[in-house]
Subunit: 335 residues, 2 copies
């Protein structure tokens, strides 16, 4: 592999100075058309590739927007990512993605790594972080965005919604349709913080309604998948037969649950109502369709993209924005 071609090489080839090359390769109007053509030709000929690293270094602007997601294999987070990319399409910002696997210690490691790339801004999924992460974020040289959550104590800007309130809608809907004995199926402990918030929302709402205590079923460590949902239902079949309604942390889990319940001869929604979360595609195609909550994952991405742009354009520190979206209940055949 031959040494890289630099603007110097192009300049030599075109018989101009490096400075002119730099100008010619941009849309800088102050360059003679003939000169520009010569430079472009030379660059083409030599296979010149622009060096963003040098540019980032020189300008002290990386052009990166760092983003952490708990998982990439999740239609909701993928939708946010996609909408964000689209919302930033007309900018120079490039996404620098890190996946935390739902672990705060991995998030810390990632944030450290991402910040070393000097991103213009950083986006974190979730409002819970380790102490060290918070400290890193606070000393960060640019805005911080927390999404998909309603942080108690936001670091900076927020685009999210209340996972707990979303669950209240589910509980109220189930109560209205006469369900009384609730179970909640999610991941173990608090590893999935948004899942933990949902669980809290269920417990609180049930208490407010004066209904019996919720049976909390812990499937496995986050992320909890279709298969994990199915296995958990097999494992907890006895507990579940006592219930009126099984509230699942997500649609895939609900789908896995319904799949096993049906196989076990338990009728959904006849014997038990089952609900999901997230308005995944499978919710609308499962049989029965699954009652769920649409949190507007793509809207989070779109709004986030807008907000990032406006905050970065306002070069001075802007006061923190907290944009809270309202999820909507989608009634399906499963309840």
């Amino acid at each position: 592999m031959r040494g890289r071609v630099t603007m110097r090489d192009v300049a030599r080839q075109a018989g101009v100075s490096p400075m002119t090359v730099s100008r010619a390769l941009k849309q800088d109007g102050s360059v003679n058309a003939a000169t520009r053509a010569a430079v472009r030709d030379a660059a083409e000929q030599l296979g010149y590739v622009y060096d963003s690293t040098a540019q980032a270094f020189r300008a002290q602007r990386s052009g990166f927007l760092a983003v952490t997601l708990p998982s990439i294999n999740n239609a909701n987070f993928a939708a946010t990512h996609r909408a964000l990319t689209r919302s930033l399409a007309n900018t120079e910002l490039q996404l620098l993605l890190g996946v935390t696997n739902y672990r705060l210690d991995e998030e810390e490691r990632l944030v450290r790594q991402l910040l070393a790339r000097r991103p213009e801004a950083i986006v974190l999924t979730g409002g819970h972080h380790t102490e060290a992460t918070r400290k890193l974020l606070q000393s960060m040289d640019g805005p911080v965005f927390e999404i998909w959550d309603q942080p108690h104590d936001p670091v900076d800007h927020v685009v999210g919604f209340s996972n707990a309130d979303a669950m209240t809608m589910i509980v109220e809907h189930l109560a209205e349709t006469g369900r009384k004995k609730f179970g909640y199926l999610g991941a173990i402990g608090d590893s999935d913080r948004r899942g933990a918030e949902r669980r809290r929302g269920v417990l609180d709402a049930v208490k407010v309604l004066g209904l019996p205590d919720v049976t909390v079923l812990e499937a496995c460590e986050a992320p909890i998948s279709m298969t994990a949902g199915a296995q958990a239902v097999e494992r907890f079949a006895r507990d579940i037969r006592e219930l009126d309604a099984l509230i699942c942390v997500s649609d895939p889990v609900a789908f896995g649950a319904i799949s096993v319940l049906t196989r076990l001869g338990v009728s959904v929604p006849g014997d038990i109502a089952v609900t999901g979360f997230g308005a995944f595609e499978v919710a609308g195609l499962s049989n029965p369709t699954i009652t769920t909550v649409d949190v507007g994952a793509d809207r989070i991405g779109t709004e986030l993209g807008r907000l990032v742009q406006s905050v970065l354009e306002a070069d001075r520190d802007s006061t923190p924005i907290n944009l809270q979206l309202t999820p909507t209940l989608i009634r399906g055949g499963s309840s």
Copy 2:
């Protein structure tokens, strides 16, 4: 927010030279323990964050591994990404991800953008590219890896499998179980190149077996989802009733198809066999379970990680490796 803290600032604070800071912050043994402690303290105090951009610039090594994926919301590509990340955990390489949305023109734009970051190597999902992309890749200053495919004319290294051959397994399995009149449900045209390869595999295998021509049903532009699969079956219901077997481009599509067929009173596999592709979770939990092909998405990631490392360690150009994996058929209740 205040100007960035550099090694110079840390050096001043600790009363040493920048050079000593640089050494102290690494595991360089040649620094006095006391000096190192002082430097670390100073760095901590000032909230110093290492600047990877400057390091990358100075060393002319970005530490990036550029990766393009057609989609992020796809369990298979996500599995490859995850396995790759894991396989590279003990290295300094950082993934720089770009999503093409199954479009070659977007791939070209992305490759241009990614190469400007001077990655150590680049990984492309798929073996089809625009002419311009190929040219960019050939002049790239580092190894190129194509995955998830069996390119006709590989740019460099490959870790993949034959999408067409995988389909042959499906067709033979269906033929063995007495199916004769096949349909294929996939995306329109060749936008999804791996999908197009699968279609080709079906057509060829059916021809080899001397069976009637395949009815090709085009649902929509790639990516084709569960919902798109369902809608296509509604639209093509009449054609589908004439068939013995419906071969779908992926498991989600097959799931959507089965969902609608069941609703229409068409029995699967009684009236028609349905098959998928990719061994998605839904295949094992759908009712009936879906006959599919496991392509070893995570294995691609793991092997790729190993290969990337070994190629980068061998500093001279290594001869192109072509690692072809063998998919396995998974018989489900849908056939």
